[in-house]
């Protein structure tokens, strides 16, 4: 039967494995993926749990539609309480792991406790075994996957693994699969490491049924045609997410030297076409016609030729603009290093850039940095710090717990220079000229984040009428305006939540492409694949339900309105350069607070951002935790 799918509860302390069917009601309310994960997060984790203790619970959730032949449907959501922020921990990973897990019979895994010694989960056609991973412990993310395949003599095994950063409980360690796919943010790799869980390996040859397979096949082709027909996706399929750089750097929307400049004038070599010197083609995730990552070779910092995949726009910032390193080669090497160690590219780059500014300002001295010269543009220091953070060596250990503990250790006003929200680093985007983006990172349920709600199309100067139609209300077409922006954030939050719940790629919905599949298309895909009738309004409520549950989790952990904030620098330091419409911009404090008020109202939350009784009743959340699964 189509929706008769399973969830498995694995207790690593007792090695007990319990399988249960996923109730139909969970699908109607939360769909799958991030949706069901957030329900599990709220229901299975006690408030104030130490995220690195055995009491934290790790959720692996495949999207409801994971596996269908369109829209990059191979995505998996990984959630737990975040060791980095102590808020919602949640990250999405592509590649090929999730479809394989579904083919092995499981849509969701709930992993609790802690194994005595390093282990990995082996899941093969309905069977789940806990296996010894002592030979894998200490291996990098590539080698771990290779060794698991060798162990079982099966090249088709897909694994999600942690690297040594996860083993060392670096609080922003990531979970990896393939050559570069990562569940990057919020430190899910550290949670795995804290459980002595090195990997989850799967191999599936069971079948997944659909309600209307023939119509689904045809509609999937339509969906693929729809996304690849957009200008954005065509550009992305050639240059990857790096294509964003051309616009944002030329305009002046990129953090440079941490936050001192908003354009990298020397960053010519970071323009995407410079990948041509190194790349021999692109590759893609499961079910994706955009294939946005490059396959490239480059000489690493020791002069050896390595093969790697990527890089993302994020890495252009992390190892390029924010640290003032102008060479594409630096980005290519550093990208491979962070993938190897299993450490988040964004957090790593953000912390290094912050440390460089502290060093410049004399707040950090050579004594504290192990004699490393944290000078702008010093690529050797970048490689060295990546390694030191992953291994918790010396100064790397100061940074390895993330911003908040590092600020506490360093003191001396280092707080001011940190570009973070709720303890998590912001992307290398400079939001001073774009109020909608600023509101987005302040209110994101997982800390500073450009994927929870970024209305990237705000930058396109689209016609007022089109924006009103999409966002179901008046929004200003001017990206520097405050008018109507909370509405954009609210709409995108719900869309991205549902995208993560069905398991498709955010780039294949209204993120950077305007005329991409969205609510009605999702509705039809769900109906053809599962038989469930969920029209647009109901789907939007699913998004609202998921996001509200995330908000409830954070409130329960003690977060308040004052944590929906951005760095003081946004208000105090005007953007020094850039095009006329972005130069000299700060975020206006009064207008920001007004946006926040409006945002809360749209959600039907009170002025402290607490969901009202009415809002909870409408969404069926009044009795949470309800322990349905």
């Amino acid at each position: 039967m189509v929706l008769n799918r399973k969830i498995a509860y694995i207790n690593l302390s007792t090695r007990e494995v319990v399988q249960k069917p996923i109730p139909r009601e969970m699908r109607t309310l939360y769909l799958g993926g991030r949706g069901i994960n957030m329900y599990l997060l709220y229901n299975h984790i006690q408030p104030r749990t130490d995220p690195l203790s055995p009491e934290n619970v790790l959720m692996i959730g495949t999207g409801l539609l994971c596996g269908i032949p369109c829209l990059g449907s191979g995505r998996c959501d990984i959630a737990a309480k975040s060791p980095l922020t102590s808020a919602v921990g949640d990250s999405n990973i592509g590649g090929f792991f999730a479809p394989e897990l579904r083919l092995a019979g499981y849509d969701h895994l709930v992993i609790s406790g802690k194994a005595e010694k390093p282990v990995y989960l082996w899941i093969s056609d309905d069977e789940i075994t806990v296996k010894n991973a002592s030979h894998l412990w200490g291996q990098d993310t590539f080698e771990t996957q290779t060794m698991i395949r060798k162990d079982h003599d099966d090249e088709d095994i897909k694994s999600i693994v942690i690297g040594i950063a996860g083993e060392n409980l670096v609080r922003f360690a990531n979970v990896r699969t393939g050559m570069k796919n990562s569940a990057g943010r919020t430190g899910m790799g550290a949670v795995m490491g804290s459980k002595n869980l090195k990997a989850i390996a799967v191999r599936g040859t069971l079948s997944i049924e659909y309600a209307h397979p023939d119509e689904l096949l045809d509609y999937c082709k339509e969906m693929n045609d729809m996304i690849i027909g957009t200008r954005w996706a065509r550009a992305q399929s050639k240059w990857g997410t790096m294509i964003i750089y051309s616009n944002t750097n030329t305009t002046g929307l990129i953090r440079t030297k941490n936050f001192q400049l908003n354009r990298f004038a020397e960053g010519e070599d970071l323009e995407p076409e410079n990948i041509d010197r190194y790349s021999f083609g692109t590759s893609g995730c499961y079910g994706c016609v955009v294939h946005c990552r490059h396959r490239y070779t480059v000489k690493d910092e020791n002069g050896e030729t390595i093969f790697a995949e990527g890089p993302e726009y994020t890495s252009l910032g992390a190892f390029g603009t924010m640290v003032n390193c102008p060479k594409m080669e630096t980005v290519l090497r550093a990208n491979h290093l962070v993938n190897k160690y299993g450490i988040d590219t964004l957090e790593t780059g953000g912390l290094i850039a912050w440390a460089m500014e502290l060093y410049e300002k004399g707040i950090l001295t050579d004594e504290q940095t192990d004699g490393l010269k944290l000078e702008w543009g010093n690529e050797d220091v970048v490689y060295e710090l990546i390694r030191k953070m992953a291994t918790r060596e010396g100064f790397g250990n100061v940074l390895a717990d993330g911003f908040k503990p590092a600020i506490a250790k360093i003191g001396k006003g280092s707080d001011y220079y940190a570009i973070q929200v709720k303890g998590m680093s912001n992307l290398h985007s400079d939001e001073r000229p774009t109020p909608s983006f600023a509101l987005g990172i302040a209110t994101s349920t997982r800390g500073a984040d450009h994927l929870r709600s970024r209305p990237a199309i705000d930058l396109y100067g689209l016609p007022k009428e089109l924006l009103e139609e999409i966002y179901e209300g008046p929004v200003s077409p001017d990206s520097t305006s405050y008018e109507g922006k909370p509405r954009m954030i609210w709409w995108q939050e719900r869309l991205y939540a549902v995208t993560d719940a069905i398991g498709t790629c955010k780039f294949q919905t209204v993120f950077c492409a305007v005329h991409a599949p969205q609510w009605n298309e999702y509705s039809k895909l769900i109906q053809l694949a599962t038989g469930m009738e969920l029209p647009k309004t109901q789907l939007m409520d699913v998004g609202e339900r998921i996001y509200t549950l995330e908000r409830l989790f954070n409130l329960r952990e003690g977060f308040t309105r004052k944590d929906d904030a951005i760095s003081e620098r946004y208000f105090k330091e005007p953007t020094p350069i850039g095009f006329p419409n972005v130069k000299g911009k700060t975020i206006d404090r009064k207008q920001f607070e007004k946006m926040l008020d409006e945002y809360y109202t749209l959600h039907n939350w009170d002025s402290n951002g607490v969901p009202t009784k009415e809002a909870l009743e409408r969404l069926g959340l009044s009795k949470e935790p309800s322990h349905m699964i």
Partner: protein, 163 residues
């Protein structure tokens, strides 16, 4: 001589496996890549992806070795097809085919083999980077010739620029 062929260009393959998914969905009505007639062989740590599927031989080896004459050619599509009712599951075709075109279906005890979806192969339809194309033989030849010529012309350019 076949009108159209399933032309494979591995250099273009991005490893997305839409071909596998579409194939199993169309031919088995479920998602199950292990029942797909086409597979993408991957060498992940080298970034190498090669689609592997029956190449519909002119003189099919599977037909030669089949002891019960289950193999014939579909006049309309030109595809080499195996009659599942006649097939006894001896797997000699799977043993002998050098292209892994005939695969063992352990669930049904038969053989999984591409029949070009009765003339509209969904794998080619779904392949965006055009690693799989269902084209006339003359078109396939023309594409290969032009690709070869392009490489030659780039070499010529380099030679002309070198003193």
């Amino acid at each position: 001589m076949m009108e159209r062929i399933l032309f494979i260009d591995p250099e273009k393959c991005t490893g997305c496996r839409l071909c596998e998914t579409a194939c199993s969905l169309r031919n088995e009505k479920v998602l199950n890549p292990s029942l797909s007639r086409i597979h993408v062989a991957k060498w992940e740590t080298a970034g190498l992806y090669i689609p592997v599927v029956c190449v519909q031989c002119e003189s099919p080896i599977c037909q030669t070795v089949c002891p019960v004459r289950a193999v014939s050619r579909d006049e309309k599509t030109g595809a080499v097809v195996i009659d599942a009712d006649v097939c006894v599951g001896c797997r000699l075709c799977a043993l002998y085919c050098p292209f892994a075109g005939a695969q063992i279906d352990s669930k049904k005890g038969k053989i999984l083999k591409c029949d070009l979806c009765s003339g509209e192969p969904v794998c080619a339809k779904f392949c965006d980077p055009k690693a799989l194309q269902y084209v006339k033989a003359t078109t396939a030849n023309m594409m290969k010739q032009r690709a070869a010529a392009q490489r030659f012309s780039e070499l010529m350019k380099k030679m002309l620029l070198t003193p």
